[in-house]
């Protein structure tokens, strides 16, 4: 297994996977707390327009997708505040419009685009060093943002009025959170693709909830499960020649299943001791 580490594709995949595991799980805690899993799905699909424009202009599709996702995030945040529409309706609007623009732009380019399957299904093993640099840089920025603001973010999500009275600039923090989620989702698409990216925002957190007894332990455990899922998924997929994104998601589901059994057994044991 160690000889795998000698391959540059494996080194790039593991560095990127490590950062993505940390960032997606940390951001995922706030996605679950705010009940906005649909937002991440919407951003993933809408950012296809950025990828398509990147291919059409022969520039870095990942960078253009990240830029587009940040713009979509701010538009959603502003519409949520100003328009008399539900959050789901606004995200649905951006989701479908972004995809429609993406399909239109792809048709303008003409011909078959095999690189686009990377965006649909992810391929961490095909990642370039320039993309590793971009992801590590953005990953560090996101981690710093969350660690500096996690108390403010949690209070804002629990009750915006209470957060405001406690001196938190709600509009600014909400926009930053949305941009942070959007950028993280697009980074995750490189590994898991548009379709599966939400899994890493959800599975580590719902798994960690089963065994966490505080918010801080939830954050730490989510990150541990996220990183474990990504790294194990990469090794297993390379060893058995399986699709990496799907293997990562199923590894996460395996950890979740083990923790469900552990947590239920523990509850039964506690109940049995009480009756004894």
């Amino acid at each position: 297994m160690l000889e795998m580490l000698a391959y540059p594709f494996m080194q790039k995949a593991l560095i990127t996977g490590l950062f993505l595991g940390v960032v997606l799980s940390l951001i995922g805690v706030f996605v679950i707390l705010r009940r906005m899993a649909f937002f991440s799905d919407g951003i993933a699909h809408a950012s296809l327009s950025g990828a398509a424009l990147g291919y059409l202009l022969n520039t870095n599709p990942l960078a253009v997708s990240i830029l587009f996702s940040a713009i979509f995030a701010v538009v959603i945040a502003q519409l949520e505040k100003r328009a008399k529409l539900s959050s789901d309706a606004i995200i649905g609007l951006i989701f479908t419009s972004g995809m429609a623009i993406g399909i239109l732009l792809l048709s303008l380019g003409g011909g078959y685009r095999p690189e686009l399957t990377t965006f649909l299904f992810g391929d961490i093993l095909a990642i370039k060093w320039s993309e590793v640099g971009l992801m590590v840089g953005l990953g560090i920025m996101n981690i710093i943002f969350i660690l500096l603001n996690y108390k403010r973010l949690a209070l804002m999500i629990l009750n915006e009025d209470l957060a405001y009275v406690n001196g938190i600039k709600i509009d600014l923090l909400r926009n930053l959170l949305y941009v942070s989620i959007a950028v993280t989702v697009v980074m995750g698409m490189k590994v898991l693709g548009i379709i599966l990216v939400s899994a890493l925002l959800i599975i580590p957190i719902i798994s960690a909830k089963l065994i966490s007894r505080s918010f801080r332990s939830l954050m730490v455990t989510s990150v541990a499960i996220g990183v474990l899922s990504v790294l194990c998924g990469i090794f297993v997929s390379v060893r058995f020649d399986l699709p990496t994104g799907a293997t990562i998601v199923l590894t996460g589901m395996g950890i979740f299943a083990i923790l469900v059994v552990y947590s239920k057994s523990k509850q039964r044991l506690i109940a049995a001791r009480r009756h004894a």
Binding site: D161, G167, S212, R216
Partner: protein, 231 residues
């Protein structure tokens, strides 16, 4: 000394006026109860005082604008809806809010509002009364001069509500804390408040409850014949 003064305050959402020409003054150390039927603008009044809603007219706290004195206001919202399965402890919730108290003083506040044994408990497992006391503690950690409580006893049983009002009275006396409280319980307002503000989109009455809250005013406010029975 006046801590809060409102002059001709009105709030509208588009064409609809939900609060019209409300004026009153609250002195430091008083307990003021806001009463009125559902939809009468009570919560809107609080949101205007907090600067959460645009309004016309003037609102002064300690003679200054809201933004300058926001740090002097503690607030307990009417709704605190959250995912109860999220593992957040009472201690963590309190740490999320801005504190102006030293560690020892924070401990003392938690003891005073009787949540000192709850620090490691998850907020999703608290009873309504316990959660309300935690929310009061978070407001007090700011060391506010003015405490706004939006229907704090809603959903709490009679005994719990009685204990809750006793706690508010204690905080008012011991800390010279000015309290504004939205309440539906007219009997409690009679016993407990120094001033009563009756709202039904506009201001129906303002003054000490014993002289202000007569049968005629209550009928004007709620549209039915009601009387307050003192215990």
């Amino acid at each position: 000394m006046k801590i809060l003064s409102l002059k001709d305050v009105s709030v509208s959402f588009g064409e609809k006026t939900v609060l019209s020409n409300v004026s009153f003054e609250i002195k430091a150390g008083e307990i003021a109860a806001v009463i009125g039927p559902n939809g009468s603008g009570k919560s809107t009044l609080f949101k205007a005082i907090l600067g959460l809603l645009p309004f016309s007219g003037s609102i002064k706290i300690n003679g200054r604008g809201i933004a300058d004195e926001l740090h002097e206001i503690g607030y307990v919202p009417q709704y605190f809806d959250f995912d109860r399965t999220m593992p957040i402890t009472v201690g963590e919730l309190l740490s999320f809010t801005r504190r102006r108290t030293a560690h020892k003083e924070s401990k003392e506040i938690c003891r005073e509002v009787r949540i000192d044994q709850l620090e490691d408990k998850l907020i999703g497992t608290l009873s309504g009364g316990q959660l309300q006391r935690v929310l009061i503690a978070q407001a007090l950690l700011k060391k506010p001069k003015l405490l706004l409580l939006d229907e704090p006893a809603a959903g709490i049983d009679i005994e719990g509500a009685k204990a809750f009002y006793e706690l508010i009275g204690h905080l008012n006396r011991e800390h010279n804390l000015t309290v504004m409280i939205i309440s539906h319980e007219i009997n409690t307002v009679y016993e407990f408040a120094d001033q009563v503000i009756c709202l039904n989109r506009n201001m129906v009455c303002f003054g000490p409850p014993h002289t202000t809250l007569d049968a005629q005013t209550i009928e004007k406010l709620y549209g039915t014949k009601m009387t307050a029975h003192l215990h």
